[in-house]
Symmetry: C2
Subunit: 245 residues, 2 copies
């Protein structure tokens, strides 16, 4: 478990409120704090601008207080759900920000692949662990994922989310879910046409996403995997690949 030392947060973008487009908080108005930098390089990453250090010039180093003030400004000082995403937000020192927000009634959800555990996971309201399936080209460190769960303890609402492109990904999701039968599972059809970081308005393959969505529904029904929820990325259906919404 890594303990937080520095107060410097690497930020790719802060935007919102807009609705959460995926997973357990789908539909909920949310301010997004997207951190810069990632220990993974998923082949189909849909947030390369927050991952690839070629975009580092777009990132800002901000203090906890600066990030907090921006959240307050965007939300008009009204308590709202804050999503900490990335990149991998677990490699940023976010514990103080969560404390600052909680004092004011804000809630915090964090989404991470589960490769880096932090003691402040226990202070989250929602922890989304999203281990990356074979199609990502990444290898899962299952012990690190277990560490994340241990760090979180029983405090946050913890769920598993899997992006699924194909049969191998689906099998991976089933295996991973079986390791943690008490955790709710969210399956999400992958998007083969994520935005090129430099071209935010690139067209998106909605038909492909929808076809994969229907396949995934058929798949869980055929396997009688009745505890798994299947949800598309709503923001992609509503706004395409546009950033900042």
């Amino acid at each position: 478990m890594i303990h937080t030392r520095s107060n410097e947060i690497r930020v790719s973008e802060i935007f919102g409120p807009t609705i959460q487009g995926e997973g357990v908080l789908i539909g909920l108005p949310t301010v997004f704090v997207r951190s810069g930098g990632c220990d993974y390089r998923c082949s189909w990453c849909d947030s390369l601008h927050a991952v690839d250090s070629n975009y580092r010039h777009e990132w800002q180093t901000m203090s906890t207080e600066e990030v907090w003030q921006e959240i307050v400004r965007l939300s008009g000082g009204e308590a709202v759900m804050v999503s900490l995403s990335g990149g991998n937000p677990a490699i940023q020192p976010l514990g103080d920000l969560i404390g600052r927000g909680h004092e004011n009634g804000y809630r915090f959800a964090l989404e991470t692949q589960g490769s880096v555990a932090r003691d402040w996971f226990a202070n989250l309201d929602v922890l989304v662990l999203s281990p990356k399936p074979p199609s990502s080209g990444m290898e899962t460190d299952w012990e690190a994922l277990d560490d994340c769960l241990r760090s979180a303890g029983n405090k946050p609402q913890t769920v598993l989310k899997f992006v699924v492109f194909d049969e191998a990904d689906y099998a991976y999701a089933m295996t991973a879910a079986a390791r943690h039968p008490h955790l709710p599972v969210y399956l999400q059809p992958g998007n083969h046409t994520p935005p090129p970081a430099e071209e935010a308005d690139a067209p998106i393959d909605i038909d492909g996403v929808m076809e994969r969505m229907r396949w995934l529904v058929d798949r869980v029904v055929a396997d009688r995997w009745f505890e798994a929820r299947v949800l598309p990325q709503l923001h992609v259906l509503i706004w395409g690949n546009r950033r900042g919404v």
Copy 2:
């Protein structure tokens, strides 16, 4: 409060499992029991085939045991979420069915406008109260809605869901939600092109639904109504107006 006497359930259709397309259980594999008959006639009803007595010849009168056996058949005997919808399912005697399912690990969600309270609401796992806004042409009986909440007590997870077509509907949703500040709220953009009951594959105005969805997101954000979730009918986006999916 009406107490259940008869064992006869009027059924329009039983289908699934497929994913729940809307509201609090969105994305969850579900078997749908759609009852026939309704005490309302909403102008934009999207289930007229289960409401209008002109379609009565399509309905079947089934015993609790017959409905239960059909649920078991569709789910392969594997416990699954069952959605009781309609029509208004509250006018059917569903208490025994819920008991029968619970013995076998099945869970039950009921969706009703909240015009008729039943003692067996307390046995539900999820109660979705969906009072109808002005665009429906219906008048809300607020005391009946309160009766429904009293019948449910603290047992089921109870939420409010509002279909919203326009500003008047939105204002209605805000007012109704303010009456019950402890209940989670789901807002759903209305569909101006629901399926004519006799033409299940009629085209749907996806662009219109999406435009209303974006408007609704802008609206809750502008009002800082950060507790309300905004969700479209996913099944309409995925399958159009097709029935039985």
